[in-house]
Structure formats: structure tokens, C-alpha cells
Amino acid sequence: MQNRFDVVVIGGGHAGIEASMAAARMGVATAIVTMDPNAIGRLSCNPSIGGSAKGHLVKEIDALGGVMGRLADRSGLQFKMLNRSKGPAVWSPRAQNDIALYPQYARELLESTANLTIVRGKVVEILVKHDRIVGVRTEDNEEILCKAVILCSGTFLNGVMHTGMCRTDGGRIGEKSATLISDLLAGYGLEKGRLKTGTPPRLDADSINYDVCELHPGDEDPQPFSYLTDAVANKVMCYATATNPTTHDILREGFDQSPMFTGRIKAAGPRYCPSVEDKINRFADRDSHLIVLEPEGMQTNSVYVNGFSTSLPEDVQLRGIRSIAGLERAEFIRPGYAVEYDFFFPYQLRFSLETKAIAGLYFAGQINGTSGYEEAASQGLVAGINAALKLRGEGEFHLRRSEAYIGVMIDDLVNKNTEEPYRIFTSLAEYRLVLRQDNADKRLMKYGHRFGLIGDTAMETSRTRWDRVDRFVELADKIKLKPASVNPYLESVREKQIEQSTQMALLTRRGQVRLAGLLQNDDESLQELEDINHNETVTLAETEIKYKGYIDRQMRDIERFQANEEKRIPDNFDYDNLKSLSNEAREKLSKIRPQSLGQASRIAGVSAADVSILTVYLR
């Protein structure tokens, strides 16, 4: 076997896939080491990609030249744009995926990529010399030499699984855990902690009475994630049901056996993907929660119970499930379980996701305390790109909070305390209206193109697309529509009719008016738009025109934000001398060593007063 690579990626999960693909495609010799090549790209929790804010991440990954969007499109069973009733900034694409096909396509993709070797094995040691990566050692005592290691170990570092009071070692059901690496890294002074995550039970489709459930269909015009995918189709139907007071009573009885409530799981679980027992506990006044039954694939009878994540004992889970309409005779294919694992506090990372302690060692995914495939994949991509850039002797790739959800996430990871698994939310983005899923290519494709992950054609297509939108927006300000042309439409949407010719942009900004509606007439001034009057352009232009006031306000705010990011703090600044800082601030600032005053102001435990002190001192 070849035993010398540029980059070794440990772990074949969603972070590992993106990291190894990016590095290999950027031209560096890459190996991906996994305990089981069949487990590459496994959807260990919900077989679904995207969702609120996560869908934004997938679009961003795609625009940067990552692969998650393509894989999700190919293996997708049902596609939905969430939050359609809300504004375009929070629209989020989501797909349900075939649990067998996603990993299969992922593996095929890796296998067919040049510069990329899949190595079956278990890494037991990371080889470091003078605080620099030199290679890894496998369980079979083989050394693989390399210059960079990207560790994407998921929940496998000291992973322990819990089902009720029963506990077993392992990172995923049926797979063993990795114990040695974690302690070894701690030996280099890296600070670690413990987190918990869980997954709901899977049901046998034949045991479900779908007749009493509501249909939960995909979109009528399903949209793909990737710019490389032409079209996608819905292949399955999902069904919705709900918990009821009886379900809640049954589950409550089991609380004293829940490893979370009894304190057997010491680690913190994610607050925002609450287990069903959490939901019952927290929203005590609600006597019903939504449950969606999602088929896991075309070749399997397994059904995912969305909204029923739990770590209660199997018998309690089953009785709870059977109290739900349609699930009275449900049979488990596999119960829900919780897994507890080691992570490393991400303040120890650079924005490139390289550890500060060991040059050439990168962390991506759950090892950084995040939860979710999309979060992991985004980090894998950033780590892969950065490892390759470093080997090519180029500068770090660092996305700003104002540019991408990926930038928001990594900035949060580095600066904030990790008390529970980090999951992306639109509320975490200050510039939400600008970071839309529909403009990810406008924001990010230029980077992917520069790194060689996006082809010239795709780049050109994206540029043309946005040039058209810009021109449309510009013309909308100039073109005046006659009352006779638009009044019938205005009347039909119950908007006030106009008496004299009015700018198209002004009309578009009215509450009930859709831009497309204003174009359905033969006003001759519309001829100017002829060559750019396409559905896609109109949709994008509508957002830009309708929300111009809001977007302008955010853009002004972004300018101030950028200015603060430019205010540098000297690299070797000695915070110990600044006695007036609070102790916590001094400690955090010394650990994280922010590059700018703007970054300093975002660090958890550093107050505005502390940053003011720093500013006054530095001026």
C-alpha cells in the first residue's frame, strides 16, 4: 500500500467526504481512512439533508464546489422548500434521502476521484514531531506519512451508546468506537469535553396504518440543491401524525429510567433538536407535538419517526409510539438511542480549522462540538480547502459572518462557549436578509472557482444570471407602467389602482403585488426587459426590489461590521498587563487571541466594557 500522502482524512462521514474531495480536487495527494468503506456517507440519524438554515449551508457548500448538494439531489426521495409562507431569506430547501443510495453514491464519488485513495483501517495514533503533523499509525501498526491530518471522527471518540439503562461502547449502532486518539490529543494540551446526541427509533412500514395519517407531500415543483443538477423528482409520500396526552403520560412514566433525567448521560444534549422527553418537559402546556413518518429508502421498510428523538428504555418508547394515531401496531426495526462522545473545544482552532497547538492538524464536524450533517460537511470543506491551500503555500480561506452561514458558524465555534452541540439557525446570522439560499452562488462561487473546485462554465453561468438580475432591478426603477396595463392585475390582488404611469419598482414593493403579475400585460415599456424576462430572473429580482429598504439597511450595517474587522490587535498583545480587564475576559482573550477588535467583541465572556478598555488602550 502507498504510505505517503499530502493529506490524510480520518473518518468517512459528511465532514470527511467534503474534506477529502476538496483536498484531492485541489491537487494534493489525499487518503481517506475509514474503519468501514461501506459506512462512507452513512446517514446515521435522519435520512434527510437540509432544513431550516441547514439548507442554506448545503447551497453554500455547493457554491464553493462541495459535493453534499449533488449527493442529496441524486439520492433524494422528496424535496420541500421550507418556510415558503415567510420571506425569501428564511426559505430553506430540504430533501429526504434514500438511506442506501446516499452512501453508495458518496462512495462511488470518492472512488472515482483522482488523487484520492480510500484506506480501510482504524487510526490509533496521530504522529507529531515538533508540534507538526508527520503522519498517522493504524491499528495494524502501519504508518502513513503525511503533512496534514483532517480529523473527522464524528461521535467515535470515546463514544458510548445508551438505550434506556443499557450502555455499550461505540460511535454508531453496530460500530465500535475510537478511544486512543482522544487521550493522545489531550496529551498535547488540547482541551476536551463531552457531548450527547440522540436518534429516534425506526419503524417497520408494514406495521403502520397510513390511512389515519395526513399526507405530507413534497413540493409541486421540486428544486435541486446543486447547480450541477438539472431537475429532481419526488419519489415517495410522507405522512404526518401527532403525539397526544396519553403518549406524554407514558413517556413521563419512563423519565426516571431515562439516562438523561437520571444523570447517567453527563454530557449536554442539543437544545434545539430536543428529544421528545425534552419537549414534553419544556413545553408542558402543549398536549401534542407533530410527528412525521418518513420512509428511509426505496429498498427498505424502515421508516424514520421525525420528532421522536429519545433515549428512554425500549419498552417505554414502544408503548409511547403505539399510543400515536396510525402507530397502534407499530413494530421497531431498531429502537432510538443516545450517544455520548468526546469533542475538543473549538476555541483551540484557527479560522482555517487548523489547531493552534499542532501545525497541519485540522478538526471538522462533531469533534468541534457541532451537530448535523450539513454543519459537519461545511467544516470538512473548509478544512480540506485550507489543508490544500497551506500545502500550496497560499493564505488561509476565512469566510466572514457577513458572507456566509459557514462564516457565522466557524466564527461562533471559535469565539463562543460550547455548552451543547452547535446547530446552525437563521437567528445566528446578523445579516440574514443578505445570506439567502437563492444567492449562495453570487456570494461564494468566486472562491470555489479560485480554488479550482468550480468550473469556468458554472462560474460564467452564475455571473450571467446575476448580471441579468442586476439589469432587471435597474430597469424596474426606470420603467413606468400605464394604469390601463396594470390596473386589472392590481384589482385582482386587491391593491389600490393607479391613476398615472408608475415605476415598476414602486408597484413591486406593495404588499400583495408579485413582480410576475406586473409582467402579464402588453405595456410597450416592458419590451426593454425582453431578453431578461425569465422566471428565474424575475424571482430573484423581485426579492431584490421588494426588500431593497431592508437590504440597504443591512448593507450599511455590514460596512460598519467590516470596518471593525479591520481594526487589528497586534499578534503578540499581552493581555496579562491589562489588569483592568475582567479575569474571564483576560483569560478568553489570551486563549483565543482575536485578530481584530470586532472579533474580540464577539468572544463569549468578553464584555463591551472589556473591548472598550482594549480599544482605549490600543489607540
Partner: protein, 454 residues
Amino acid sequence: MLVADTICALATPPGTGGLAVIRVSGPAAFDLVQPCLRSRTDLSQADGHTIHYAAFVDGDSIVDTVTASVFRAPRSYTGEDSVEIGCHGGQIVARNIVAALVRQGARPAEPGEFTKRAFLNNKLDLTQVEAVADVIHAVSTPGAQAAARQLTGGFTRRLAEIRNRLMDVCGLLELELDFSEEDLEFVDKNDLRRQLDEIGQVCRELTESYESAHILRNGYHVGLIGFPNAGKSSLMNALLGRRRAIVSDTPGTTRDYLEETLHMEGIAFKLYDTAGMRSSDDQIEIEGIQLAESIVEQSNCVLVINDASAGAAHSDELAESMRARFGAVEVLTVQNKVDLVKQTADELKQTRDDLFISANKGEGLDALRAQLVELATSSSARVNDVLINDRHVGLLQQVIESINNAMTSIENAPSNEFIAVDVRLALKTLGEITGDNWSEDLLTEVFSRFCIGK
């Protein structure tokens, strides 16, 4: 403390005065002052908050007899070891003392540097730093009191209340967006509208108190206007109790305007004596009259002085036109020269609701003074524990604008994230007033208001 050097500066205004104080602050404060003192006290051994009498010497020559007040870190204004040297007033003595200290190794302080050190040593927060500037610049007792209250954090608390309420609003909006997949509704639009409206109302009230705060900070402005020779200058002199304006029988003697400050009941009154109002072909006088109008515009109160001997209603048209043109300004008619009128003041009072005085005889002046004090007090009464300055008012107006935008979005926008844009902006701006959000502009602005020695 990280600042290694020791600074010194004259802390009292330069010029002739009874006493002057020189501040010395920094780790070497005691060691640096000691060689300049001929005294039995060893400053480095002296207790904090003690005063020591000594002769201040520069080499062999005695500069002055002084008192040296010792403050030990952290219990001093700056939080550092400090000495305040009280000497006799006059430019030469103070300048020599500073020069001697500089020769001992002290560095002349930059404007605001003592306060900057106090800030860096956590002795003051930002709004308190602002309040220090306000106390220094205060021209009225209530103003100084409000500033002093701000120094103890009153203003910050008021804004913190608004901020907390906005945070609650923001939290609910975001929660609904975050849980949108579950289709939960947390936000009641009517409740939201009411909340925002109330918050906006509080901000508006705070902004309105700016005008009052302005009076406390800058004094109550009183413009004296009237037709030529109505006795404006005589009244000015009578109020001041000295001859300031030139008084003559020739109409139009006062050609530009005169400004004087009068203190009554702890409030500073800025009196402006203007050129007489009349149409004139005389170029200088026309300019004077235009000037008078611009003074009216900036005044809190205008006294229309009428020559009662020319008829009580002689200036009514003038007073009316002032009211019509400058609605915000209080306009009072003062009937002067009542001693020259046949009717008694009491008889006149039955027909007209004016003030009746004789500037020359000093009659009715107490009533006029009382009236001015009442007006100034009532218009500054809205200032309770809050003293708003230009920076605050600018930012509060931005907050109000953001809240108005958010209210509009509740009606027009399709979803919470649009409301949230402006609620978040409002929160950010509020945080900049209180210092909860870091902003470099704020720091620049706050510290630029200081002079050397503060």
C-alpha cells in the same frame, strides 16, 4: 496598572484665581513629588486621603507653600497613586510647579488622560465618563445634579429597562423563526405592536427631555426684543444690577446684540439684548434686526418689551408675530416705564395679563425674576434622573426610527425576519448608548470632550 508612566497637569482653569490644583497620577506619583516638597511627611508612607502642608521647591528656590493631598491606588479618581497639589492661583506658580514635576520625570498629561486612566482602571463606565464631562461643563445646579446622578449610573438603568424589553421582543421573533418547522406561534402581532409602541414612547420622552437637559447644560436663553427705545438695555442692566448695555434716548443705540449670564436659583440665564425691531433703511441696523430674529429662534423665552407710555397695546402686533413665527418659544410682554403712565400698575393689571415694570425705578423686577425662574424650572422639570446629551439624542432618534420601521413591517412585511431586522438594529443602537455594545465611534466621541487635566 499597565500604564507605566506618571502624568501631571493643571486641573483647574488656567488664569488668575484664589487657588489652583495640579494633579499627578501614576506609579511614581509619590516618588516624583517628594523631592519637590520641603516637609516632614514622607508621601510614600502617608495614608490615603490625607492632606499635608509643605513648601514646594524647585531646586533651592521655594515656588509656593502648598497642600499635597495623597490618594492611594485604587482609591483615587484614576485608580492609580495620585497626589493633588493645591497652590496659590495665578499662572506663574502653577506653571512652575508643573515644570518642576516634569523635570522630575512626570509627563504632561493629554486631554482627558486622567479620565481615560480612570476608565481603564474600571473606576468609571462609559456613561459615567460622559457624565464627568457633563459635570465639568454643567452651567446649572440641577444640571450638575442630574449629571452627578448619571455618574452613579441612573441613565444606564433607564436604558437597560428598554433594552431588556426589546430583547424579549427579539427573542420571541427569533424563536418562532427557529422553530418554524414545528409551526409554533409565539408572537401575537397585537401584543408586539403594543410593546414596540410603548418602547418607542419611552424613547420619545427621553428625547424630548433633551430640550430640558439642554437648558440645564447650557442655560435658559432669554431674548429681549421690542421697538427701539422701549428700554431693553435698561432692563438688561437692571436685571444684571450693573451697567452693561449702553443706554441712550436715541432710538437704535443697540446695533448688534449683547449677551450676559445671570444666575438665579442655581439656573444660568443667558440674556440677549437685541437691536430694536423696526423697519429701517440703515444697513447696520437691518443686520442687527435680522440677528435679533435669529436670537429669538434660539431662545427658550422672549420678553417683548413695550414702552407702556406709548400705549399698552403698542407692541401687541410684534408679540403676536413672534408667537406665530416661533411657536416653540415662550413669549411674554413686559410693560416698561409704568412710572410714566398715569394709571397705576394695579389698574393696568386689570386689563392686561402682562408684567409691569419700571427698569429705571427698579419696580416689578422681582416679579419678572420669579416669572423667569418659574418658566425655566417648569421646562426643565421633565429631567428627573436623566441628562441627555447630543450623542444620546442622535442615537435615540435612530432607535425611534428603527422601531417605526419595525411597526411598519408588522403591517406590511410577510414575515418576522423583516420585523427582526429593525428590532435588532434598535437593540444594537441602544447598546451603543449604554456601552453594552462596543463601538469605537462612541469612544472617540466621549473622550474628545475632555480638556487637559481631566
